[in-house]
């Protein structure tokens, strides 16, 4: 058991190998079999984003950072829910597990309300 903890994930490895084989295979096969007669119109940028007009090395709005930061914090909150959900029926009185998570969520609800009230997620 101890030796083969990782071997239980062998199906996932096979899945990854198949995904790479199919995804890469499509590119490789179409590279060799596809017909190529490029002309300037064909290789020009169209519907795939704008032509760059400025250096990309500029300061981004700090609101991107704020969204990322809030994402991490609420992501960590969700992480605490996973083992709780797995164990939910096994709490001694089930209400105990329910109340402790309710308290946890309730505290973070204040954070969420604060974020909304401060307009931290408004992009106007």
């Amino acid at each position: 058991m101890q030796e083969s903890a990782i071997l239980g994930y062998l199906p996932i490895l096979i899945f990854f190998a198949l995904a790479v084989a199919i995804g890469g295979g499509m590119v490789v096969v179409s590279t060799f079999l596809g017909r190529k007669n490029p002309n300037p119109e064909k290789i020009s940028t169209y519907e795939c984003g704008m032509v760059p007009f400025k250096d990309a090395r500029q300061r981004f709005d700090v609101r991107f950072y704020l969204v990322a930061m809030l994402f991490i914090l609420f992501d960590i909150e969700v992480v605490f829910l996973y083992p709780w959900a797995v164990l939910f029926t096994r709490f001694d009185p089930v209400i105990f597990g329910f109340v402790e998570m309710l308290l946890f969520i309730f505290v973070l609800l204040f954070g969420y309300i604060y974020v909304l009230r401060k307009g931290a997620l408004d992009w106007s």
């Binding site: 058991m1 101890q2 030796e3 083969s4 903890a5 990782i6 071997l7 994930y9 062998l10 490895l13 250096d55 090395r57 500029q58 300061r59 981004f60 709005d61 700090v62 609101r63 991107f64 950072y65 704020l66 990322a68 930061m69 809030l70 994402f71 991490i72 914090l73 992501d75 960590i76 909150e77 992480v79 605490f80 996973y82 083992p83 709780w84 797995v86 164990l87 709490f91 597990g97 402790e100 308290l103 946890f104 969520i105 505290v107 973070l108 204040f110 954070g111 969420y112 604060y114 974020v115 401060k118 931290a120």
Partner: protein, 173 residues
């Protein structure tokens, strides 16, 4: 020896290689992107220890959230400008000192500690599953720290909003 060893060496080599690449890249965006496979493969090492919960957390938190944060920190730093480059180069001696201190610490800890036996998952993790083992103690024995964690997260939310809002008001005015 067998498939397990091959998998372990694959994970170990990729971790060391991508970590070395992340440190040595001059472009910070490339450095962060090399951290991505590094962290994913560390999740693979957690699976070797039967810690599938930690592996999932490693993917969700580190490769999901922390990497996005690292990238956005780089984006808002304005690394192309001369001023930012100068500030970063000024921190070189400090960074070398901090790195050396960490290396000394790790070497001393590795020499001083005794390893009780062969590496592997603890028995309770093997029998019940890692997620159940973590939750079983987290929501009973460590109930107070768990509830305290919500307060820490709450303070972090306040801090993030206050810091970023101040900054955006300064730039807009």
């Amino acid at each position: 020896m067998g498939l397990e060893s091959i998998l372990f060496y694959y994970f170990a080599i990729v971790i060391v290689a991508t970590a070395a690449l992340a440190v040595s890249r001059r472009n910070p965006v490339y450095a962060v992107l090399f951290l991505l496979p590094c962290l994913v493969h560390i999740a693979g090492l957690w699976l070797f220890l039967g810690a599938e919960f930690l592996a999932a957390i490693q993917i969700i938190i580190y490769t999901g959230a922390i990497m996005v944060l690292y990238l956005f920190v780089i984006f808002i730093l304005d690394l192309g400008s001369f001023r930012t480059k100068r500030i970063i180069h000024q921190q070189k001696s400090l960074a070398i000192a901090g790195g050396l201190a960490l290396i000394v610490q790790l070497v001393v800890l590795t020499i001083a500690s005794t390893f009780p036996g062969p590496f592997g998952p603890p028995q309770e993790v093997v029998s019940g599953g890692n997620t159940q083992a973590v939750g079983g103690v987290l929501y009973t024995d460590f109930l107070f720290p768990f509830e305290l964690a919500s307060l820490v997260l709450l303070v972090a939310i306040f801090g993030a909003v206050v810091l970023a809002r101040k900054e955006s008001e300064e730039t807009s005015s």
